[in-house]
Amino acid sequence: MAVTLNKTAGPGWASGLGAVVVLLGVLLAAWHGNEWMKLAIVGVPPWSLAQMPDADCEADELEEEGLTLAECRQLALSMHDISISAPDWFPAFHIAVSAAGLLLALLSVFAGVALVDYRQWAAATALTTLGALAVLDVVSFVGVVMVGPLIRQMYLWSILLWFFIHLSMAVAALAGYRNEREARRSWHAPE
């Protein structure tokens, strides 16, 4: 049966912020899921560059995929980008960051729903989750700074962008949390 919502709507800031948190949480979960798969597949290529077999670039395949011969050869070479530029610890580090990011992104979706369908604990939960995501972005950023330029150009900008998005949303949750707390205090304070 259809669900009946019978409580009053939450504050406007919570509704707007909650919807944005849900949208970006879903996008982030998808991104981290893909990063996980990416590292699992090309984190450690089966050959070194010196032993790598020639790419198979048949004319009909190239036409079907809309590729030039040079692009087809480059696709094979580029799978070494991560291994060339990464120290041994990087694949495990990146997979751990992606796993934590996926979990936190899903938690942020839950926190966003709680903001829209307003609960008193929603702002604190959103602040914690978004703060944790911003901290994870910093950890990830520092990790990527310590590896080679091929990986840095691949990840650094997107991590920085996500960091500022999470920071902005965490600060919005903090401001909302404090406003709500002050409003409750003034409501209960004697005249």
Partner: protein, 180 residues
């Protein structure tokens, strides 16, 4: 304020669909940058199988969601939140969204069927070939798949814009889908 909201099953399936669709977009852009499949390079095998599996499952999830949605149909939002004209546009947006998701998934599966590459559903069941190896039909369905997916992305953007608009207005429309 009393508002009839969507059933919880519909809500969960809606977010599962959203996550799957975004994952399929992001992962497909990456996997098409892997070396072409050959005897030496088999790196495309897993992501392509996963892509097909999620796409096929997505059609099933969409069917279950539509069934649950029609079985537990909520009342339209109050006219002060959504005018009848905008409500009709929102219904049209949903119909187009579902049609494009279906077209995108079916064309992808048909392209795969005519490519000669088999599909093992979640690495458990070998699905029958709906077609035979035919380069022209493979390219045709592959093009349809590509374009319907670009259209899907545009329709998703419209859908998300509408949801955010109502969330910022705090008119209760978004709470019909986002509730605990």
């Amino acid at each position: 304020m009393r508002t009839k909201a969507y059933n919880k099953t519909v809500g969960i399936l809606h977010w599962l669909l959203a996550l799957s669709i975004f994952f399929l977009f992001i992962s497909s852009w990456w996997m098409l940058g892997l070396p072409l499949a050959s005897e030496n390079f088999q790196l495309r095998a897993f992501p392509f199988q996963l892509h097909k599996n999620i796409g096929i499952t997505l059609v099933v999830v969409l069917a279950v969601m539509l069934y649950a949605r029609f079985r537990h149909r909520p009342e339209p939002p109050p006219p002060e939140a959504l005018s009848p004209r905008i409500y009709k546009l929102a219904v049209l947006d949903h119909v187009v969204l579902y049609a494009v998701i279906l077209a995108c998934c079916v064309s992808g599966y048909l392209s795969s069927s005519y490519s000669g590459w088999g599909t093992e559903l979640w690495w458990l069941v070998e699905l029958p070939y709906w077609g035979y190896e035919n380069e022209e039909l493979n390219v045709l369905y592959s093009d349809i798949h590509l374009w319907t997916c670009w259209i899907l992305l545009a329709v998703v953007a419209v859908h998300v814009s509408g949801a955010l608009y109502h969330a910022f207005r705090n008119d209760g429309v978004i709470r019909r889908m986002l509730h605990l």
